[in-house]
C-alpha cells in the first residue's frame, strides 16, 4: 500500500474510532438521564466506583498537589516578587495551575490508577464470560457496568482537580511564606481570585468532566473489546491508557484554544 493510502487508512480509522466513542458517550449520557435505569444496584456501583477512583486516590493526589504547590507556586511567587510585579501573581497561578497543570496531572493519575484497572477488570469479565452471566440474569452490562463507571470517573476527576488546586495553592503559599516571600493570606487569595474569570470555570469543567467521560468510555470500550483470550487483557489495558492520554491532550489543547483565543 502506498504511503498516502496508509495515511488515509489511519485517518479513516481515527474518524471511525472517534465516531464510535462519541456514540457510546451519547448513549451512556442518555441512559444516565433516564431515571428508571438508576436502580439500587447501579447506584451502588456508582458509589463504589467514586470511592475507588475518587476517595481512595485523594491521598496520592494530595501528595502530588502539595509537591506541585511547593515546586511551582514558590517559584512563580519568587519570580514575580523579584520583578516587582506582584499583581500578576493571581493570573499566572490561575494560568499555570488551574487552567493546565491541575486537570492534566489529575487526569494522568486517574488514567494510570483507575482507567487501567477498569479496563483490566472489564476485560477479565469478558474473558470469563461474566458479561453473558449478567445478561442471562436480566442485567444490562451497559447500564450496570459502563454507565456508573464512566460517570464516577468524570465526577471523581472533577472533585480531585478541585482538591488539587486548593492543596497546591495552600502548600505553595505556606512554602513561600516560610521562605519569606509571601504576602498575607488574604492578599494571596485575593490575587488568585482576581486572576479567575468565568472562562476559567468553563475551561476547568470541560477539562475535568469531559475528559473524565471520555477516559471512562475509552476504558470501558477497550475492556469490553477483548475476545476470549486472557492474553488480550493486558493489551486492552495498554490501549485504554494510551488512547485516554491521547484524548486528554487533544481535548486539553482544543479546549484551551477555543476558550482563550
Amino acid at each position: 500500500m502506498s504511503s498516502i493510502g496508509h495515511i488515509g487508512e489511519r485517518l479513516l480509522d481515527g474518524i471511525r474510532n472517534t465516531c464510535h466513542l462519541a456514540a457510546v458517550v451519547w448513549t451512556l449520557l442518555r441512559l444516565a438521564a433516564t431515571p428508571h435505569y438508576w436502580v439500587r444496584t447501579v447506584r451502588a456501583v456508582l458509589v463504589r466506583q467514586i470511592l475507588f477512583t475518587g476517595v481512595e486516590a485523594l491521598s496520592f493526589v494530595s501528595l502530588v498537589a502539595f509537591l506541585t504547590g511547593v515546586a511551582v507556586v514558590v517559584q512563580i511567587q519568587d519570580f514575580i516578587t523579584n520583578l516587582g510585579q506582584r499583581a500578576f501573581l493571581g493570573p499566572i497561578l490561575v494560568t499555570v495551575i488551574v487552567r493546565e497543570l491541575a486537570p492534566l496531572l489529575v487526569n494522568f493519575i486517574v488514567i494510570g490508577r483507575s482507567g487501567a484497572a477498569m479496563a483490566t477488570e472489564l476485560a477479565n469479565m469478558k474473558v470469563m464470560r461474566e458479561i453473558n452471566i449478567l445478561e442471562a440474569q436480566g442485567v444490562d452490562p451497559l447500564t450496570y457496568l459502563a454507565m456508573p463507571r464512566v460517570l464516577a470517573m468524570a465526577v471523581s476527576i472533577f472533585g480531585l482537580t478541585m482538591a488539587f488546586i486548593l492543596i497546591s495553592f495552600v502548600s505553595g503559599y505556606l512554602s513561600g511564606f516560610l521562605m519569606g516571600s509571601g504576602d498575607a493570606p488574604f492578599l494571596f487569595a485575593n490575587s488568585v481570585l482576581i486572576g479567575l474569570h468565568s472562562k476559567d470555570v468553563y475551561n476547568l469543567l470541560t477539562k475535568t468532566l469531559l475528559t473524565g467521560l471520555l477516559t471512562g468510555t475509552i476504558c470501558v470500550i477497550e475492556g469490553l473489546s477483548v475476545g476470549g483470550s486472557i492474553t488480550e487483557v493486558p493489551q486492552a489495558a495498554t490501549r485504554a491508557v494510551v488512547r485516554s492520554i491521547k484524548a486528554l491532550f487533544l481535548i486539553s489543547a482544543v479546549v484551551s484554544v477555543l476558550t482563550y483565543f
Binding site: 436502580v39 439500587r40 444496584t41 447501579v42 477488570e121 477479565n124 469479565m125 470469563m128 464470560r129 461474566e130 453473558n132 452471566i133 449478567l134 445478561e135 442471562a136 440474569q137 436480566g138 442485567v139 444490562d140 450496570y144
Partner: protein
C-alpha cells in the same frame, strides 16, 4: 389450560456447528407449559451444548424460532429481552459467577436489580432456599474463596430465587455430593407445581432415573438431534 401460553417453545431450531464451539443442534422441538419439566440427557463427550443460551435468547438460532412466554426472542426489543430474562433462573454449566461480587450479592443481584422488593426480603428468601439445599447459610465471600461443592448449591439458590417463570439447570449436580441431589429434585418439583417450567440438562444417572421426576418430558441428545429416549419411542 388450552388457552395457556407456553413458557418456552423451540420451533424447529437449528444451530450450525460453526456458530459456536462446534456444537450442532438440528430441528429441536420443545414446548414447556407452566408446571412442565423437561429432562434432557446430554451425549457423553458433547456435554457443552448451547441449549440454555438459545432458551434465554442469548444466541440466535440459524433457523427456527425460540419463543419465551409466547413471543420470539428475535422479535423483542432489547429492554423487553432484558426484562424477560430476569424471569429466568439458571445454573450455568461452567463458570457462573461475577468474580468481583460476593456470593450473597451474586445470588441476589437479579432480584435487587430488577425488582423493588426490600433487600431484607430477598436475603430472607435466599437463606430459606439455601436451608432447603442443606446449606446452613449463604456462603459469604467472593466465589473464588468458596468450596466448589457449596458454590454449586449456592448457584441452585440463585436459580430458584424470586419464583422465576423458567428455570434452566445445566448439569446442576456436577461436583455435588449424591445426598444433596434429592434436595434439588424436590425443590424442582415444588417449583414446577408452583407454576414454573424447568429445563434440566443432565448427564447424571441419579437425576435421569429419579422417580420423583417421572412426570417430566424426557429427551436425549444424539448427534445434534433432541429425541425421546429409545425405549419410550419403541414402547
Amino acid at each position: 389450560m388450552s388457552g395457556a401460553v407456553p413458557i418456552l417453545e423451540f420451533l424447529n431450531v437449528s444451530l450450525r456447528p460453526a456458530s459456536r464451539d462446534g456444537a450442532e443442534m438440528r430441528d429441536i422441538r420443545l414446548r414447556l407449559m407452566p408446571g412442565d419439566i423437561a429432562l434432557v440427557r446430554l451425549e457423553l463427550g458433547n456435554e457443552s451444548i448451547p441449549l440454555a443460551d438459545l432458551a434465554m435468547g442469548l444466541i440466535p438460532p440459524d433457523s427456527g424460532s425460540v419463543m419465551f412466554q409466547g413471543k420470539a426472542w428475535a422479535h423483542m426489543n432489547p429492554d423487553r429481552e432484558i426484562r424477560l430474562r430476569s424471569r429466568i433462573g439458571r445454573v450455568f454449566n461452567e463458570h457462573g459467577w461475577i468474580s468481583n461480587l460476593s456470593v450473597p450479592d451474586n445470588i441476589t443481584l437479579c432480584e435487587r436489580h430488577n425488582t423493588l422488593r426490600p433487600e431484607d426480603d430477598i436475603f430472607e428468601e435466599a437463606e430459606s432456599i439455601a436451608r432447603a439445599f442443606g446449606l446452613d447459610d449463604i456462603p459469604a465471600g467472593r466465589p473464588a474463596a468458596i468450596h466448589p461443592r457449596d458454590l454449586r448449591r449456592a448457584e441452585w439458590v440463585r436459580a430458584f430465587l424470586g419464583n422465576p417463570s423458567l428455570i434452566v439447570l445445566e448439569r446442576p449436580t456436577l461436583g455435588v455430593s449424591i445426598e444433596h441431589i434429592p434436595l434439588l429434585i424436590r425443590t424442582a418439583v415444588e417449583a414446577a407445581s408452583g407454576g414454573s417450567a424447568l429445563l434440566w440438562l443432565t448427564t447424571e444417572d441419579p437425576v435421569w432415573s429419579s422417580e420423583s421426576l417421572n412426570k417430566a418430558q424426557r429427551y436425549e441428545m444424539r448427534g445434534g438431534l433432541m429425541q425421546p429416549p429409545e425405549g419410550s419411542r419403541h414402547g
